[in-house]
């Protein structure tokens, strides 16, 4: 059985031709290394004094330009698209202006067992002698921690939340039409036009002028980068012996002379154009979720159709170009994260998400030939990056959904499926126009956003079970004994479930308030100290408003808090309600004793009873599901009750996603009343607690869909299926119907791990034989054997549905 499963997985990887096979192999095999070039150049630039005294946006733009003038210009052998962050595939630059890695950080990155970033001696020396001495105390990270109040730091250290922007810049956005339709010369004209129209009577006149100047410099910077590549390719062509490759290199040089200066004219140019922008955005800062071409099948389709009609392109050639493009993403792993950030997002994946399907701006079905072709590329490439999203609306034909499930079947976790009608509702609720809602999509893992027009910044994960733990200890974190919450009463005095629930809500409100204050401080720091003139060129309406992306330039501004542990919290509250307040199986005192003993010794019986004999979320029983629904409602209500942020005027929203933080949050949270032992992972996304959803997938879908996800920015659901469940057309068709129903009921997202627990156990035993085993983690896939043990165990513990 195992052999069949492994064979089935390996068989699907089949790049279009030998060139792609070689490129893919080179990309997959490349070791991830820290690349010091960017840090070295940046430091040199700032040390030179060229920027001193200038306004910050100009300084940043000039620094970016300096980078684009001097960074290496790697070309992967046989590639068709050029531009790469770092000195070669998987050479990952660092961003000392945002986070300075200490020598110890570098040591850990270099030597840690899972997901290392190799650091050579020269880099360590450079860091010791130049980078650290220059940047220490000046980085965004230093700035942020020096500004946050003590109560914020206490909660952060206790693991009540994480902070997304302590090591990585905001960003979190995807490209829209502008990215595929505008050349930089036109954008430079637009900048000039806006500059001319500035009114000196405007109190913001000077700020705007400075920002526009910075944008103009940033535009020049990427033009220089492209020009350098054109020259490099011409030189390479001179040396090239192979006549066909020589012609290709010259054609690539011509493309680089045209884009990104002008709008792309062909399919190939469109891919190259986008990629230059992607490299620019990811060189400028280390934004979360890198950057993304968004609704790529929509954007590329006009080029594809025209090229095909005019005989410039064949389907096969388009596929080859797309596969080459695919590998560009895989060659840019996430930046090296350390500390809590590494815990919350422990992966090389940088979450660039290609959206397929959905609707067009006019409300008609968006599925086209390219949607299918890109699924085919995904099916044959199976690399860690990029990620995809299949957007299903009521207008999407079944054949597209079933095709997507066919790609899911061999078990790599991709693509995840999204309810696009739900995405539109979410966007409309947030005040987007109908057209902007229909051209929206999902980025990162499951986050909805108005692509190309919205700055929706993620601010950190919130640990719900930890807040319950603090409530049960009347403001004290039992792990440290520190008083970090507010006093909501001794739980032993609670007479009713409502007493407990209200105490929890007060505690929640307290923490959310502290977190929001922190968010405001961090927003101000980024707006002032880290403008991003290059990214601002591409997101509407930054140029028009002469305002930076990080300072509210985007058409829509949103701020997200990511909620974690819904399943664990629901089951814990349900168990307390049922056993303490209704059945009176236990007193609160007894529960607290059992928790502090971590259910050891005789308390194992208590634990089993709480675990097995309490109503649980995920089994389509209203008792627990209504608690989940209420939690979602309350969390949304609290978060949204805050006024818009001070600088970006961003509305406050929540969504439900863990990445890998549920493992970290589990580590810092003691035993919980649902029978969860201390230190073990909390539940992920909006999935039921690992291993407890025993009533089948239909019941899970019903339970999940009872919560009102339209009020959130998204909700991640993982389901694990036994491989033989997706083995024939009939099963795929029925699963497709089930997914339709889930979406009709209001579900936002579902993704499937099609893998047997047996295979995962075997991979743990013989990791060397399973290097290529990819599984679904949260909103992304990863290599199983690279995952830390805790996460491996968590994935194995998820319920595997073996029967329909």
């Amino acid at each position: 059985m195992l052999e069949i499963e492994v064979e089935k997985r390996r068989k699907v990887i089949r790049p279009a031709n030998e060139r792609l096979a070689r490129l893919r192999e080179g990309s997959v095999q490349a070791e991830v290394r820290v690349c010091a070039e960017r840090a070295r150049l940046l430091t040199k630039f700032y040390k030179s004094g060229k920027a001193s005294g200038l306004p910050i946006p100009i300084q940043r733009a000039l620094a970016f330009k300096y980078l684009m003038e001097h960074v290496s210009l790697p070309v992967e052998e046989g590639q068709l698209i050029v531009g790469l962050r770092g000195t070669g595939p998987k050479r990952v630059p660092t961003y000392p202006e945002i986070c300075v890695h200490s020598l110890k950080d570098l040591e850990i990155l270099d030597t840690r067992e899972s997901m290392p970033y190799r650091v050579d001696e020269e880099t360590k020396r450079l860091y010791a002698e130049e980078i650290i001495p220059f940047w220490q105390g000046k980085s965004m990270r230093d700035l942020i921690f020096s500004h946050l109040p003590k109560e914020w730091i206490d909660a952060y250290e206790a693991g009540v939340w994480t902070e997304f922007m302590e090591q990585r810049a905001p960003g979190h956005t995807a490209g829209g039409e502008r990215v595929f339709q505008k050349g930089l010369l036109e954008i430079k004209e637009e900048i000039a036009r806006v500059m001319r129209s500035l009114d000196p009577a405007d109190p913001e006149y000077y700020e705007k002028l400075v920002e526009l100047k910075a944008m103009d410099i940033a535009a020049d910077a990427i033009l220089i980068y492209a020009k350098r590549y054109a020259e490099k390719l011409e030189e390479m062509a001179k040396e090239e012996k192979d006549q066909e490759r020589k012609r290709e290199l010259l054609e690539m040089a011509e493309i680089c002379k045209w884009v990104p200066a002008h709008p792309p004219r062909t399919f190939w140019e469109a891919l190259q154009h986008y990629w230059f922008i992607h490299v620019g955005v990811t060189y400028e800062t280390n934004p979360w979720d890198s950057f993304s071409p968004g609704r790529i099948d929509q954007h590329l389709y006009p080029f594809y159709k025209r090229d095909l009609a005019e005989g410039r392109l064949t389907r096969d050639r388009a596929k080859e170009l797309l596969q080459a493009f695919w590998l560009k993403f895989n060659n840019q792993p996430a930046v090296p994260k350390v500390g809590v950030t590494a815990e919350e997002s422990f992966t090389y994946n940088d979450f660039s998400k290609l959206n397929l399907g959905g609707l067009k701006a006019d409300g008609s079905d968006g599925v086209n030939e390219l949607s299918f072709l890109i699924l085919e590329v995904l099916e044959e490439m199976r690399t860690l990056q990029p990620n995809t999203a299949v957007l299903i609306s009521n207008k999407t034909p079944d054949r597209f959904l079933i095709r997507a499930l066919e790609v899911v079947a061999p078990g790599f976790g991709e693509p995840p499926l999204f309810n696009f009608d739900g995405v539109v509702v979410k966007m409309l609720r947030q005040g987007k126009t109908l057209e902007d809602a229909r051209t929206a999509g999902v980025s990162g893992c499951v986050e909805t956003g108005a692509f190309g027009k919205e700055c929706y910044i993620l601010t950190g994960y919130l640990n719900l079970p930890k807040i319950l733990e603090i409530t049960l200890h009347n403001a004290v974190d039992p792990r440290t004994g520190k008083n970090i919450g507010i006093e909501t009463g001794d739980p032993r005095e609670f007479r009713t479930y409502e007493n407990l629930w209200n105490a929890f809500l007060k505690q929640l409100e307290h923490f959310v308030t502290v977190k929001m204050k922190g968010n405001d401080i961090i927003e101000a720091l980024y707006a002032h100290h880290l403008p991003v003139p290059f990214l601002s060129l591409w997101i509407e309406d930054c140029v028009k408003k002469a305002r930076d992306y990080n300072a509210g330039g985007a058409r829509y501004n949103t701020q997200y808090l990511q909620i974690v542990g819904l399943g664990t919290l629901t089951n814990a509250l349900s168990a307390l309600k049922f056993h303490v307040f209704e059945r009176k199986t236990f007193t609160m005192e007894e529960i607290l004793h059992a928790l502090s003993a971590d259910f050891s010794g005789p308390y194992e019986i208590t634990r089993q009873l709480l675990l097995n004999k309490s109503p649980r979320y995920g089994e389509d029983e209203d008792y627990a599901d209504s608690i989940a629904k209420e939690i979602v409602d309350e969390v949304v209500k609290h978060a949204e009750s805050f006024p818009p942020t001070p600088i970006r005027r961003a509305s406050r929203r929540v969504y439900f996603l863990p990445t890998t933080v549920h493992v970290y949050f589990g580590k810092v949270t003691g035993a919980t009343p649902d029978g969860r032992k201390a230190g073990t992972p909390v539940s992920e996304g909006v999935s039921p607690v690992q291993g407890t959803d025993r009533k089948g997938i239909a019941a899970v879908f019903r339970s999940v869909a009872k919560c009102d996800w339209d009020k959130t920015g998204g909700a991640l659901l993982n389901q694990k299926l036994s491989p033989d469940l997706l083995s024939d057309e009939e099963s795929l068709r029925k699963l497709a119907q089930l997914i339709r129903v889930f979406f009709n009921l209001g579900g936002h997202h579902v993704q499937f791990n099609v893998v047997s627990a047996e295979l995962l156990r075997e991979a743990q035993k013989r990791p060397q034989d399973f290097q290529d085993l990819m599984v679904r983690v949260a909103g992304y896939s990863d290599y199983f054997v690279n995952l830390p043990r805790g996460l491996q165990e968590e994935i194995i513990a998820r319920t595997e549905h073996k029967h329909w």
Partner: protein, 304 residues
């Protein structure tokens, strides 16, 4: 009055018991004693206990709470793990032990439910039936063994325009069968050994009534799909297949097709019920022989 019945499971998102996506309701109690029965917990009409050894914590809670003292638990001094002992003749199926058991090692199969309660569960998946053109399947046990409950449940489904299927051994009074027939959109009708003596030997009852009932359904023009459990050496023999094909040939105008259900081993279930599995351990029929057989039967009627 709301009719009540005893069921032992409700399986949602079932895709093997009729068209589309279905919810299958398992009614408890069966007049047959098929030796290969793969739902032994459906045979007795009364609620009964199943014991999952791997879940047992050896805490003795069950023995303490049993009102009939039907469970004894006496760990020996050497710390050796000894499972609790159940005297099934004393057990009334009250379920107190199952409810108290912290780990769920004791599981009570069979609960009394009203048609109204059942419908509130079935209604949850209405959208799913609509979308997939599925519905509800009544299985067992033998669903016709609880004729009133089945009748009212079917009627309630029809009132809600839900597609209904009944998975039956066909061993029931013709009056019961004709009464429910108009409410059933699809019969899944089992045929076991064709030879009457063989049938009696392996199932405990004659097949004469079963065959008559099948002919009657065909006469009434009700949609029927025949299902044949393929038991090595018993129903897959040359003699039985020939007889089956002859019979199918006679009624082929009136049936939608035949499904072959390959045998699988369920010895563990019997052990959990404190029962003895009456079948020697047989291997599953191979995919090739199954395909051959399907092709052969398909000469007479469509076969899956």
């Amino acid at each position: 009055m709301d009719a009540t019945g005893v069921i032992f499971d409700i399986q949602r998102f079932s895709v093997h018991d009729g068209p589309g996506i279905r919810t299958t309701v398992f009614l408890k109690g069966c007049p047959l004693r098929c030796r290969w029965c793969h739902n032994p917990e459906g045979i007795s009409p009364a609620p009964e206990l199943m014991f999952f050894e791997y879940k047992c914590l050896f805490c003795g809670t069950c023995a303490r709470v049993c009102p009939k003292k039907a469970i004894s638990f006496s760990p020996n001094g050497e710390g050796e793990k000894v499972f609790p002992k159940l005297e099934r003749e004393k057990c009334t199926g009250c379920g107190v032990c199952a409810e108290a058991c912290p780990s769920g090692a004791w599981h009570l199969v069979g609960k009394r439910i009203t048609v109204g309660e059942l419908m509130s569960v079935l209604e949850r998946d209405e959208v799913l039936y609509d979308r997939s053109q599925g519905g509800v399947t009544f299985s067992g046990g033998e669903p016709l063994f609880q004729p009133d409950f089945l009748f009212f449940a079917l009627q309630a489904c029809k009132e809600r325009r839900i597609h209904t299927a009944v998975d039956t051994s066909g061993y029931a009074s013709p009056a019961v069968l004709t009464k429910i027939a108009p409410l059933v959109d699809l019969f899944l009708f089992d045929l076991k050994p064709m030879d009457e003596e063989e049938h009696r030997r392996y199932t405990g009852v004659s097949n004469r009534l079963i065959h008559e009932n099948l002919r009657e359904l065909v006469r009434l023009g009700r949609p029927v799909r025949v299902r044949v459990p393929l038991i090595p050496g018993i129903t897959d023999t040359e003699g039985n297949i020939a007889a089956l094909m002859a019979f199918l040939g006679e009624i082929r105008q009136g049936i939608q097709g035949v499904e072959l259900l390959p045998y699988h081993d369920v010895a563990e279930k019997y052990q959990r019920l404190g029962k003895v599995y009456g079948m020697p351990l047989l291997s599953r029929p191979s995919q090739e022989s199954l395909a051959q057989l399907r092709a052969r039967i398909a000469q007479v009627v469509p076969c899956a």
